[in-house]
């Protein structure tokens, strides 16, 4: 649950965890800050992506196998009723007014929610459809503001807009034609039906794939954490080593403003130099800078390849005060750091104040990946993707490996 609904519930005084709530032994293997505990809500609906929690506590999860709704009837934290519904095999999922908005690779849809009914009974309505079917970066994650404005991440079907994608030495197309239809955020009226991409307007550009996208009601602004580029070393081996590729290019956290340009594919933010550099496809020599002031600096430059897949500004009341309005970010974990050790696979907390980073990020939940045999993402035990806040202020996390859903609550020190 996001923003407004959480506030309504906390006014009603439901800000503390229900008595009798189960705690997973050893927090299910997750490392959490002192005072926090984890419950396994459910596992078994297949690969989960994003999720949301209604004011009554019902949990809705989007997954590659379809949509599911979960209810905890005895308030022990675990789902007792699980219903599958709909025909969307997808990614993003958000509750908005009395609707459940979901997406797949080519569209955003919604289901009407009836009071006290767990799974929607009716068929879906199409909000926007007919995005081109692409293979890379095709998940249409989205955010909604309080008025129902719909911000859709349209990822670029490319690594770095090379003339030949992911081919050694191939230079970048300039201007990058992909940016006409991809690589940014497109805005729609989320209350209107049967729209196509032609009904949208490009809101922001230069974003390779902003999977983690969120409306911040307090700041009245959009924010996103963007997946940075891959393969510096294999594409430009005379400039970059495997270690460079594993560590330099940031996953950039930005406030996304109307008309903003965040620098892809022409640049990337180099975490080692702590500044933006020209991409090697566009004349970059490892140090050359783009025109001063052309692209904004990130609010936070997260480590390379961590794969930020969800962003959530904490609007609950049950976590300690420092978490209020700060950002939780779910990092799905790397594949393109190999042969270096993979990294990410955790949920971090970024303290925020007035829409800016307020101190260094902290690892909030870790231990998802397990031993990860052979350094392979395939062997990760869990990979966090989706985040949501429940009516009691608990943080819910969804996993893409087994579809496990956790509820993280604060019990005090």
């Amino acid at each position: 649950m996001r923003n407004a609904l959480v506030r309504v519930v906390s006014v009603l005084g439901l800000g503390c965890i229900a008595p009798g709530t189960a705690i997973a032994a050893d927090n299910d293997g997750l490392a959490l800050p002192p005072g926090f505990s984890a419950v396994v809500v459910h596992e078994g609906q297949g690969t989960a992506r994003h999720l949301d929690v209604a004011a009554n506590g019902d949990i809705y999860v989007a997954g590659r196998n379809g949509l599911s709704a979960m209810r905890d009837t005895n308030r022990d934290g675990k789902a007792d009723i699980v219903a599958t519904f709909g025909d969307v095999k997808g990614t993003e999922l958000r509750l908005f007014r009395n609707w459940l908005y979901v997406s797949d690779d080519v569209g955003v849809y919604r289901y009407a929610l009836a009071k006290a009914q767990l799974a929607p009974a009716g068929s879906r309505e199409t909000v926007v459809s007919e995005f081109p079917k692409e293979r890379q970066h095709s998940d249409k994650t989205f955010a909604l503001d309080a008025k129902g404005t719909l911000y859709i991440n349209v990822g670029a079907p490319s690594n770095s807009c090379q003339e030949k994608d992911r081919q050694e030495g191939s230079l970048g197309l300039n201007p990058c034609p992909i940016l006409e239809k991809y690589g940014g955020v497109w805005v729609f009226d989320g209350t209107k039906l049967n729209q196509t991409p032609a009904n949208g307007r490009r809101f922001a550009t230069g974003m390779r794939n902003a999977v983690a996208i969120e409306w911040n009601a307090t700041q009245n602004s959009l924010f996103a954490v963007i997946h940075g580029r891959d393969s510096l070393d294999t594409l430009f081996p005379t400039l970059y080593t495997a270690e460079d590729n594993a560590t330099r290019q940031a996953e950039e956290f930005h406030q996304i403003v109307d008309g903003g340009d965040y620098g892809w594919p022409y640049t990337f933010f180099d975490t080692r130099l702590a500044r933006r550099v020209l991409a090697p496809e566009y004349g970059g020599d490892k140090t050359k800078e783009p025109e001063a002031g052309k692209y904004p600096e990130p609010l936070v430059a997260f480590p390379a390849h961590w794969a930020p897949n969800d962003l959530l500004f904490y609007s609950g009341k049950s976590f300690p005060a420092k978490y209020r309005e700060g950002a939780f970010i779910a990092f799905h974990g790397s594949w393109n750091r190999a042969p270096e050790p993979q990294a990410g696979y955790k949920v971090v907390f970024q303290p925020m104040k007035d829409g800016k980073a307020n101190g260094p990020y902290e690892v909030f939940a870790d231990g998802f990946a397990g031993d990860m045999k052979d350094n392979s993402p395939r062997n990760a035990q869990y990979r966090p993707v989706g985040l949501a806040v429940g009516p009691d202020g608990s943080l819910f996390i969804a996993d893409s490996q087994k579809g496990r859903v956790w509820r993280i609550s604060y019990r005090g020190k």
Binding site: R135, Q136, T234, W335, N336, R378
Partner: protein, 138 residues
């Protein structure tokens, strides 16, 4: 043979032995080349990354005809017929720019490690396959 020559011969023999034993402890050239060109996508265990890059371990390509494998790796996955039904997101770039000997070493390594100990591939095999590439694959 003079004493000096004998000493020199002993030194060279020692160097050769040292070099041979150090080679024995190092990964095969094909593995080093796999690590450089292939591992980031297909991973150390050849298992790929779900939804991103396919597994090659145990697959039909590494177990099958060496010439077809050489052609596939040199051409890349862009126009592969099997790709149409694939659920992986990323495309495989062509590797025709690598020398025959490097490609042969890589193909030998992946056939042995991921293809149930398949037969080695020689540079001549790769050169022969290269003649079947389109005239200008670049």
């Amino acid at each position: 043979m003079s004493a000096r020559s004998l000493r020199l011969a002993a030194v060279f023999a020692g160097l050769w032995l040292a070099a041979a034993s150090s080679v024995a402890n190092e990964p095969a050239p094909g593995q080093l080349l796999y690590n450089k060109h292939c591992l980031a996508c297909h991973q150390a265990d050849g298992g790929g990354v779900p939804n991103m890059q396919p597994a090659i371990a145990g697959g039909t390509w590494v177990k099958g005809d060496a010439r077809a494998l050489a052609l596939f790796v040199m051409s890349g996955g862009f126009d592969s017929a099997s790709r149409k039904d694939s659920d992986v997101g990323n495309v495989m770039p062509p590797f025709h720019q690598l020398p025959d000997a490097d490609l042969a070493a890589i193909l030998t390594f992946i056939r042995q490690k991921f293809g149930d100990g398949g037969s080695p591939v020689s540079a001549a095999d790769v050169a022969d396959a290269r003649t079947s590439l389109p005239a200008s694959p670049k």
